[in-house]
Symmetry: C2
Subunit: 471 residues, 2 copies
Amino acid sequence: MKLKLLSLIALIGATLLSPGRADQPNFVVIFCDDLGYGDLRAFGNPTIKTPHLDRMAEEGQKWTQFYSADPICTPSRAGLLTGRYPIRNGMTSPKRGVLFPDSSLGLPAVEVTIAEVLKQRDYATAAVGKWHLGHLPQYLPTAQGFDSYYGIPYSNDMARIKGAPNYRQQTDDPDYYADTNDFDVPLMENDRVIEQPANQNTITRRYTERAVEFIEAHQKQPFFLYLAHSLPHIPLFVSTDFRGQSRRGLYGDVIEEIDWSVGQVLETLRRLDLAKNTVVVFTSDNGPWLSFKTHGGSAGPLRAGKGTTFEGGQRVPTVFWGPGFVKPGVVDGMGSTIDLLETFAHLAHADAPTDRKMDGYDLTPALIGKGPSPREEFFYWTMGKLHAARSGPWKLHFLQREAVQYSRLVPMDHPELYHLEKDISEAYEVSTTHPQIVKDLTAKAEAHLEDTADSLPEQLSARIPNFKYRR
Amino acid sequence: MKLKLLSLIALIGATLLSPGRADQPNFVVIFCDDLGYGDLRAFGNPTIKTPHLDRMAEEGQKWTQFYSADPICTPSRAGLLTGRYPIRNGMTSPKRGVLFPDSSLGLPAVEVTIAEVLKQRDYATAAVGKWHLGHLPQYLPTAQGFDSYYGIPYSNDMARIKGAPNYRQQTDDPDYYADTNDFDVPLMENDRVIEQPANQNTITRRYTERAVEFIEAHQKQPFFLYLAHSLPHIPLFVSTDFRGQSRRGLYGDVIEEIDWSVGQVLETLRRLDLAKNTVVVFTSDNGPWLSFKTHGGSAGPLRAGKGTTFEGGQRVPTVFWGPGFVKPGVVDGMGSTIDLLETFAHLAHADAPTDRKMDGYDLTPALIGKGPSPREEFFYWTMGKLHAARSGPWKLHFLQREAVQYSRLVPMDHPELYHLEKDISEAYEVSTTHPQIVKDLTAKAEAHLEDTADSLPEQLSARIPNFKYRR
């Protein structure tokens, strides 16, 4: 534990509290990989059947302007877990967007995660699923405040074995199904590899079983469960029970299995009488991966997808649920995964770090229905660069990436201004008629750049010399 | 009345039934103008507040693949009211897309409308709002089975007075508000003009008041109310109470007033204890008018908008509500406004016309939750030409229009094939890999063209000689 605790007495006191008290709610974060804004019924999807998420949204709070910390994987996760823009902890880089199996570094040990914050109050903590913040032992969840880890430590398409079909070339067929053995990714238990290649056909089911077991085992102690699905990132895999069930094709099958998983988690909470003292958040790490055609999701009405700082890349379908805390309804104020740390810290009466710059807001007023969201601005970073800034409804783009392949920066004649609430799809550029807004947003962006100037030097690009992937 | 009735006795019998019986449900059609698929909360809109429509969708049935009869105004309305593709009754033309103030013709008297079908069973019938099927006395609602009419008989932007600002050039400003006096459109009561120019600032409110009055006046007799809002067609107008209220800007204000209107209608039905014996349908005549920028709506995830036969032009946000008939839930089978006549006829134990070709399906099995929608195909017509055909999830485009301005036909190298359920946004053309589907859909389209070959010659283009608009 790296935090200076207010006092040892507080910690001891916390352990004496009866389990399930309102000042120590349980937290569950269900984090999807590459799920788009338009992929859920509650956010307008026409065909994918998600009865459990529908119910979760009806009983809970739907957030329609909620941002992931970055439009790609590693930095998005760093932002969620630390409550800081990933530029601050080296988890974004202009050279490599994310960690790879040959990466030698990960989230620095000095960073404080949500798990570590909640450890002040004696929470049981588990990470189940994708990690992608460093797969060497010193960077795994168990080194970042989690009591246990079970999952694939990076993206499920990494380490494709030589000679295997190139998935990218198969995606004209919406139902193309890969051989899980073609992706030599490890399944880990704590810091041990227990299966390789991981059988991804059953990975959503197995993550879910682990999640349910963890909840069952910790019903007498406050807990934090971070359930980060490896899917619907490509390659798409699904259990036999769900295969071929969705009108949306394989991508829909995958979402419908994740929906089943959500149902299992919520049903477990209800069955164990924990629903009233638990807050569950469902969200995604970034927008849909459009270059994979129908194997990627839909951003709904939003422009572009994963990898871009258009809304389709970072606005993610988000639902908060918690009958004892969360007021049912729709919140159309801003929020971000970056805000979860401050929010959970407040609800758990724990201290967020005060010895470093934090970027999150405590969303409690909006969650309990006592006020609007305190978040009024958002900064869009990717690949180590500030691409855009939002204040109120206005968003100014300084840098843009190509909408589908996103690897290429698109030259801009001048910064582009959009009114996100009147112009949902970022279709109508209005900088020339609103020079003062452009000036104000430019000033905010410059202040933010100055504020982040002391960030860690980039870490993502460091590689293990002579890396050879273990078989 | 043009229908051969089964017998006069049936008619007399019907009048003797107690009001509000289950075999004579009331029907209300709430028909918006240019409302897009993505403009309602229930269909994924992030900011427009529609609490009444949200509740209607929760208590009722949301249809996610429901089509208007045509992507522009006049033919869409002809299709809804007659249960036939508008090519059959002359209400579509390659020369003029819709009727104008100088048009000399309208929906032929020989056509049988829903109002006329329900007259067999002694329904009280009212049309409130936009008509656009002919504004000369012999074509008005009162000549087509409606006991009364109150509304603007064509589009609210027609007859712009000379020298008034060109609305089209103002739509860079999302909140630009026109002077209602610049549009010299008449407000009619039956076949009399009672106000000209109609004060459009209060038009939604006044339509709503008329609708409520009609329901109150006919609570002892089965009724059919056709409430066709003039908005959100441009120019946008809204009552003072709603102006400046929506985060979406003026367009959102307009939708929020329509939502209020829906609330008034449903609340009246509840208050008069008519809810259990009434079926209410909320839908739109076509997709959003994209060329008006933020003054137009959003098609959500769908491609293009009004005027095109892409999904954004014809798939409309549709909710059925009726606690005594409609099973709550989501229907993702196909439906169309063309199906309302057959459906209402079935529910009211009335006869649909049998002396002519009809294109609708009785949607009752899906509405009551006893089976899937019987509609398995749809033909996309506009400007007098068959543009595309759908069968199951497959759609083949033969002709395409430019996505935003839509006045121009876009040349196609070959027919384009899309799988609408796996590829929500018509983004991935797959004709080369599915030649048999192309062949089958082409055959279906050819059969449909043959089936419609005896259609009325075009009527829309006929004009009144030396037309001068009355002041």
